[in-house]
């Protein structure tokens, strides 16, 4: 902790009295906390919040309510619907009406509920480590010391925030704002400036795409908008019959992403080689007579290796063949030049206005105002009076060269508003606990510009202010609640002036909060076409970046973590224990290397490697990833936190930011690797990626599928049996999963965990093979082709787990569910041994810890399991029974599609379908009647109720000739 600067020195007595006050408050707080934990519910927010319009039943005890709100990450809003039990939010679902969600969610969004109840949250306003109060901080913010005010906060798309910042600038001339996002999209906007002269936003319409080319772009996984895009992509990728022609996907990337894993043609290449490929692609298009601007001479110097050139040519032909129905997507971490060329490519293939629309950017000041570097310089020069760092952690998530911590210490008054006390808090004098989004009012825009509202579901557990309220205090608006602040600007916008204005506004306000967003506020498409000639700035940039590297040194590609993003979710136990797509690594990041490179450097999984980039070095454990590019190594950011107040995050993994260059570019051109003697035991859930030639996750190329649609015949249909086949009548529940469109994003895994009170076991637990996930995603990699296979209880009709249980703890329900009776289980674990799918999970210890606030997240409809009992996927039986009760009350049958499992609801692509076999016209039933349907380990005769659809790939014949069966 920094000592308070002289200006803040005060008599000790004051501090003591304040401590007294705080202690009393703390006691109250404690009391409240206990009351909450006891009652399992808490007082409704004092202010009126409105339930989700379409799902609102009357509030009756035991019946949950759903409220619409929005999750904002790096400035982009996603509409969600939050389940609340007696005022206690327990589960996040996508808002089906919201354009950024369409009902789907990401793993991070699913897990964000846990942060609300995180026991490690900051609870008290502190000054120099001494407890203070929000009132005193507000006071302080109202009277700033001389010198300009600098704000550091995440990118913003909120009209409300924009307004407040404007007012702050009026009040404090010379105010600078740093929009800090280590995984920001500045390059994309600068690329748009190159092409269109303005920082426009790319809006993809994948529902109309036949060919998609992803240039280092994880458009189905990590990118903002991926949730929506995945849904659109899946709509074009899923086949109902062999005659369908699914969208074809090309990808070039270093590390295998969900997008790359689905690609029909994936070119594994270092991230720095993407721009040359884009350049070549553009010139190939020009050679084929498409309208392209003249390229600078340097472009000609780009010499691609033959197999890449072949790839580029095939892609060019395919793009032209599907002109107007094809699109090229460029990844956020690529340089602006690459984004710019992407725009020209899209223009050349007629994508603009068709599959790609350009709109005004959702963010305010997309190109930013000031940068962290400016802040550091100004601070050292003593030109900053106050620095307010809101809801971000620049000390950790910034290039070490900037020395942000030292810079902040040089500022007379520093305030850090943060959900948890982290690295930056230690560098600031004031630390204010920040409200969770489920405790706060606000607004934001979705990627497509749709205005979305953030409304609280619960009064702040620790009385924390929200970003908006802190900005308001800086703007001199004291004593205004977040709600008041939000309503004020929207009054004129929501209703026309007139006699009945108030009623009209209230009606509109009610509707808006009910929906969670304002329909029709998406940014209009602009008739944008890129300039005829490349602007000088771009040419200059191309000259700079296209120059071939001096030597073939390894590239380090830094990437956001699919779990902890840029580190802001590192204290979330669910995300830490989420098996990462492709590596199934938990509780750490690792230096991801290709097997060939690993062999060359003699690296085994877990071998600690010294990574050196210039004068910066970092020790990281290596991990082989089949399909990773040879010339590149990947390290995910967000780990290696140094935050003692975040015990879950602290010291887990290694800090990739340590290798970040001063420019903050995520592609570090040249690093050296040296294996050290040490070895680290990585905690992975799946150790074997090879299917050993067993037909477990079936896949076929489209033409083979058409030639022989019945290729899964041996994996379905009746089998001879000595035992009588059980006859079960009534609704029979079942699930169908299409592996063609499963991206492995793992949102379902967290959704299941949140819905079913699945505990975490920690890194050691995972190492010992005791992970508790009811739903895992198996991956099999054959010839660098990945098939994701969500694996959960198959609810076998002839369940082998059941007949070996000596006490009837697991048995079959009349409606075909394989049920666990936890209270009856004595824990022989025979069922687990006899489960060929290994989907049963055992409570080796007393994992469930009711005494922490995290227990408040528990779903009251699901039993919390005790030590020593077996558990597993139940097909979300609580939802089934809920629907049945509802139906009985309404004197009707359960409707088709009425029961939705948590995994199905979360899945962005809709790859998981659930329902009753009797409901013939639901996708679940139609899908399993397709010829490509199959059951895993069918020949064992367990008659699983969960069926899969084989992964169908749509390779380009021009590139396909040298490929063998996937």
């Amino acid at each position: 902790m920094s000592s308070p600067s002289p200006s803040l020195a005060e008599p000790l007595t004051d501090v003591l009295t304040r401590v007294e006050i705080r202690r009393r408050d703390a006691l109250k707080l404690l009391g409240a906390g206990i009351a909450l934990a006891k009652a399992g519910c808490m007082q409704a927010p004092g202010e009126e919040v409105l339930p989700y319009a379409h799902k609102m039943p009357e509030l009756s005890p035991g019946a949950p309510l759903w409220y619409a709100t929005s999750i904002v990450l790096d400035g982009y809003a996603t509409g969600v619907v939050v389940e609340s039990h007696e005022g206690r939010p327990t589960k996040i679902e996508g808002n089906p009406a919201h354009p950024a969600s369409l009902g789907g969610t990401s793993a991070i969004q699913q897990a964000s509920i846990l942060d609300l109840y995180d026991p490690d949250r900051a609870r008290v306003v502190e000054l120099a480590g001494m407890p203070s109060s929000w009132a005193r901080l507000a006071e302080q913010l109202g009277a700033l010391p001389p010198g300009p005010l600098w704000l550091v906060l995440p990118p913003q798309s909120s009209p409300l925030v924009a307004g407040l910042i404007a007012r702050i600038r009026e009040g404090h001339p010379g105010t600078r704002v740093v929009y800090h996002a280590p995984l920001g999209r500045g390059a994309a906007y600068r690329g748009a400036v190159h092409a269109f002269g303005a920082p426009l936003e790319v809006q993809l319409d994948l529902t109309r795409a036949d060919v998609v080319v992803a240039l280092d772009a994880d458009l189905l996984g990590a990118m903002h908008g991926a949730v929506r895009w995945a849904r659109d992509f899946a709509a074009r990728r899923h086949l109902d019959a062999p005659t369908d022609t699914p969208v074809r996907l090309y990808a070039i990337e270093p590390m295998v992403t969900p997008t790359g894993s689905l690609a029909d043609h994936r070119l594994a290449a270092p991230a720095r080689d993407v721009l040359p490929v884009a350049t070549a692609l553009l010139s190939e298009l020009g050679r084929r007579g498409r309208p392209v601007p003249p390229l600078p001479p340097v472009a000609a110097s780009v010499g691609l290796p033959p197999e890449r050139l072949r790839w580029v040519r095939a892609v060019a032909d395919d793009l032209i063949a599907h002109a107007g129905r094809s699109a090229v997507v460029v990844g956020d971490r690529q340089p602006a030049a690459c984004h710019a060329l992407g725009h020209w490519i899209n223009a050349a293939v007629g994508a603009l206005g068709a599959t790609v629309r350009l709109t005004a950017a959702a963010l305010d000041e997309p190109l930013g105002d000031a940068t962290l570097a400016d802040l550091a310089a100004a601070a050292r020069a003593g030109q900053i009076g106050t620095a307010a760092v809101l809801d971000c952690n620049p000390v950790y998530a910034s290039p070490p060269a900037l020395a942000i911590e030292a810079a902040l210490r040089a500022v007379p008054l520093t305030v850090h508003a943060t959900p948890q006390v982290d690295e930056t808090s230690r560098a600031c004098q004031w630390t204010a606990p920040l409200a969770h989004y489920l405790e706060a009012w606000g607004d934001a825009r979705a990627l497509d510009g749709t205005v979305s509202f953030v409304q609280p579901l619960i009064r702040p557990l620790y009385g924390s202010p929200s970003t908006v309220e802190i900005l308001a205090a800086l703007a001199g608006l004291r004593g205004k609640t977040g709600r008041a602040l939000l309503r004020e600007p929207w009054r004129p916008r929501l209703a026309a002036a007139g006699p009945a204005f108030d009623q009209a506004f209230e009606r509109a306000w009610t509707a808006a909060l009910g929906d969670g967003f304002l329909a029709g506020t998406a940014a209009p498409a602009l008739p944008a076409t890129p300039t005829a000639a490349l602007p000088a700035a771009l040419v200059a940039e191309l000259d700079r970046v296209l120059a071939p590297p001096a030597d073939d040194r390894l590239e380090l590609a830094l990437a956001g973590s699919p779990a902890v993003h840029d580190g802001r979710f590192a204290d979330n136990a669910w995300l830490q224990e989420l098996p990462q797509p492709m590596t199934s690594l938990t509780w750490s990041n690792a230096l991801l290397v290709s097997p060939r490179l690993a062999d060359r450097l003699d690296l085994a999984d877990g071998t600690v490697v010294r990574i050196r980039s210039g004068d910066r070095t970092l020790l990281a454990p290596a991990l082989r990833v089949p399909g990773h590019a040879d010339g590149s190594v990947t390290l995910e950011l967000g780990y290696g936190r140094r935050a003692p107040d975040q015990p879950i995050a602290d010291g887990v993994g290694v800090d990739g930011f340590a290798l970040l260059g001063a420019d903050g570019a995520l592609i570090v051109p040249a690093v050296d690797l040296a294996a050290t003697g040490q070895r680290r035991r990585l905690a992975r859930t799946q150790l074997e990626l090879d299917d050993h030639g067993r037909d477990l996750a079936l896949a076929a190329r489209l033409d083979d599928y058409r030639r022989d649609p019945d290729f899964t015949r041996e994996h379905r249909g009746p089998l001879p049996s000595l035992l009588p086949v059980p006859e079960r009548t009534g609704l029979q529940w079942a699930m169908t999963i299409d592996t063609t469109i499963c991206t492995g994003c793992s949102a379902c895994v967290i959704a299941c965990q949140a819905e079913n009170n699945v505990p975490v076991v920690g890194a050691d637990g995972v190492r010992r093979g005791r992970a508790m996930h009811w739903l895992r995603i198996d991956r099999y990699v054959a010839r660098e082709r990945v098939v994701h296979q969500p694996m959960l209880c198959q609810h076998c009709e002839m369940a082998p787990c059941e007949y070996v249980c000596p006490v009837y703890a697991t048995s079959h329900s009349p409606d075909g569910l394989n049920e666990m009776t936890y209270n009856r289980c004595v824990g022989t674990r025979f069922c687990s041994n006899n489960c060929p799918y290994k989907v049963r999970r055992f409570n080796w210890f007393h994992y469930n810890r009711p005494e922490t606030t995290a227990a408040l997240q528990h779903n009251p409809d699901v039993t919390v399991r005790d030590r020593g009992v077996m558990e597993k996927c139940t097909y979300c039986v609580q939802r089934i029974r809920g629907a049945e009760i509802q139906a009985r009350m309404e004197r009707r049958d359960v409707r088709p599609g009425e029961v939705v499992t948590a995994c199905q609801q979360a899945c962005p692509t809709g790859a998981i379908q659930f329902g009753a076999l009797g409901h013939a016209d639901t996708p679940m039933v139609k899908w399993r009647q397709q010829p490509r349907a199959y059951a895993v380990l069918h020949d064992l005769g367990t008659r699983p109720r969960t069926m899969y659809l084989a992964a169908i790939r749509n390779p380009n014949p021009a590139l396909d000739n040298d490929e063998d069966e996937p």
Partner: protein, 458 residues
Amino acid sequence: MTPTAAADPILVGAPTPGELQDQLLATTWGQGGRGWRIAFAIAGALTLLLFGCIAYTVATGIGVWGNNVPVAWAFGIINFVWWIGIGHAGTFISAILYLLEQRWRTSINRFAEAMTLFAVIQAGLFPLLHLGRPWFAYWLFPYPSVMGVWPQVRSALPWDAAAITTYFTVSLLFWFLGLVPDLATLRDHAPTRRRRILYGLLALGWRGSATAWRHYRAAYLILAGIATPLVVSVHSIVSSDFAIGLTPGWHSTIFPPFFVAGAIYSGFAMVLTLVIPTRAAFRLKNVITVRHLELCACLLLVTGLLVAYGYTVEYFIAWYSGDEAERYQFFHGRPFGPGSFVFWAMLACNILTPQLFWSRRLRRNVRVLFVASILINVGMWAERFVIIVQSLQREYLPSGWRGYAPTWVDLSILAGTLGFFSLLFLTFLRLLPFVAVAEMKELRAELAHEDAAHRGPA
């Protein structure tokens, strides 16, 4: 009947009944030697360790063991099967050899039956201990519960419960019935009043009347008669804990006979391990003669070959089934997968060791026998490790493949049961005649008769 005349005697010299009785009872009257006391102290310490670990496991959770998913069964069940197997030799000797009128059984059957009891006690610990919630173990028995829920008897585990209970009860009755006449002898020759009362109570007032002997022999015959199928059934049922499962390496019809052979194999090994030091320590080489040891060695050879046959058939079926999971299990997982050294140790100990006994010289070499018997015990433990742990490590879905490593608790509990077993056994040696006195007298009389018959015509 073995041609005892040809081979060396099963009772050296011609002691008078009096001498024989004094010699056999001496072990109960005499003070335990220094060696006995040291052994007792060590066994006691290990027993304490055992119960300490049990308390720790129950208090903390079964997670303190090394088990995981997929290897949900490990040391617990290995030890269970191993100890049960050891028990089998006792019943085999006392029942089957009795029916076959193998006289040489007489001087070691009491001893072997005691070994059975104590081994089954060790085995009985584990079905309870390995549970996630041991305090509910009684749910495996059909007690009238308020919920009206009963055990699920299609599972092999209630079969186990029934088999183990029966096996322990019958062994106990058999052992005790055999003891009654000797207890009477002890009663009538006890040096102190306290012992007189103790043994008097245990003897149930046995007087040795001709009528009593008649019924006694009938009962003994019946017990022997039913113990014979019982001993075969028990390990068959234990084997069905695995055979009814569909895990590759478990789902096999050879298991019952294969397990029974293995059980008797390990049992005789344990008999030798115990009898060799005991006969030396208590100077009973004239009663438990080299011939006894040699015959045990022969049985080791036979059962060892049966076990080897079992391995061969397992491999043949794995290949013949064409099932890729089975094939992988046997041709990759076990010989080369994690923990493969245990597999090779198993082959070495169980297949190679008994081959020594083709040689009569080695069969009669006490040192060789002792070392071999220990090797075979190790080998049979390794076999159970291979069957249980290695099978579970490599199942149908490669995504679920994972290795296994025991924790210090696993190892302590294994050592602890060895200690507890020794503790019980050492106590038995000092408290009761571990060679059946009455039967030895009978045997001596028969032998005397035969000698007379042989000499008669000469």
